[in-house]
């Protein structure tokens, strides 16, 4: 079974540009999460989708970040315009059932560098 995949693995952009990150969850997983790790800090929650609906977006830092999950399959996270402090590793995770152990399976992350 394929795991969570993310694209691209690395992205280097200049301040003010736009970047879109993509996450493909494990097939059949209704729950999809975005996290990020800014250098030297903890991995922090950004938001949670259940199918195509945003269940919790309390971790989204500001309105420069837009996440979508059209059709309840893959998700995109757009940063527009990017700022220097957005640099970090963005992880996506998926899980199958909210009522079970809710084990979240993580992708390899996208390393974003904003220059």
């Amino acid at each position: 079974e394929a795991g969570v995949t993310q694209f691209p693995s690395h992205s280097v952009i200049e301040k003010g540009q736009t970047v879109t990150l993509r996450c493909d969850p494990i097939s059949g997983h209704d729950n999809l999460y975005w996290y990020r790790r800014v250098m030297g800090k903890e991995i922090k929650f950004l938001l949670h989708f259940v199918k195509e609906s945003k269940q919790d977006e309390s971790g989204m830092p500001n309105n420069r970040f837009l996440a979508e999950r059209t059709g309840g399959t893959y998700s995109t996270l757009k940063v527009q315009p990017a700022e220097l402090e957005d640099s970090g590793v963005y992880f996506c995770a998926s899980s199958q059932n909210r009522l079970a152990a809710n084990e979240q399976f993580f992708g390899p992350g996208t390393r974003l560098t904003v220059l």
Partner: protein, 112 residues
């Protein structure tokens, strides 16, 4: 706000030695997870601890949970080089089913 503290941040240990990583959290939780991350790779799930007194073991790693003390430990027995990685604990706030709150991670380096 749930806070998760993990220590030590960095651990250098010799092969064959034992050591423990600690994970303290600040509010009630009923689920705690341990993950391993190799450089540039995904976070790999190691253990899911669901109840007070839960103990799980896999190879040289053993994790336990004390919900009353709000403490989980990851014990490493007779370390080998292959265990070198960064280990994270993560806590799910009681009554929620979404966001994990992570500790800072412990970078483990096992030397020959």
């Amino acid at each position: 706000e749930l806070k998760v503290e993990q220590n030590p941040l960095f651990l250098s240990m010799q092969e064959g030695k034992n050591y423990t990583i600690y994970c303290n959290y600040s509010t009630t939780s009923d689920r705690l997870y341990w993950y391993r991350q190799d450089p540039g790779k995904s976070l790999e799930s190691l253990f899911v601890l669901l109840s007070n007194g839960a103990v799980k073991q896999e190879g040289r790693l053993m994790a336990s949970l004390d919900t009353k003390a709000r403490l989980s430990t990851l014990h490493i027995t007779a370390a080998v080089h292959d265990l070198s990685a960064t280990y994270f604990c993560a806590v799910l706030l009681a009554g929620t089913a979404s966001k994990l709150t992570f500790g800072t991670g412990t970078r483990l380096q096992v030397t020959l």
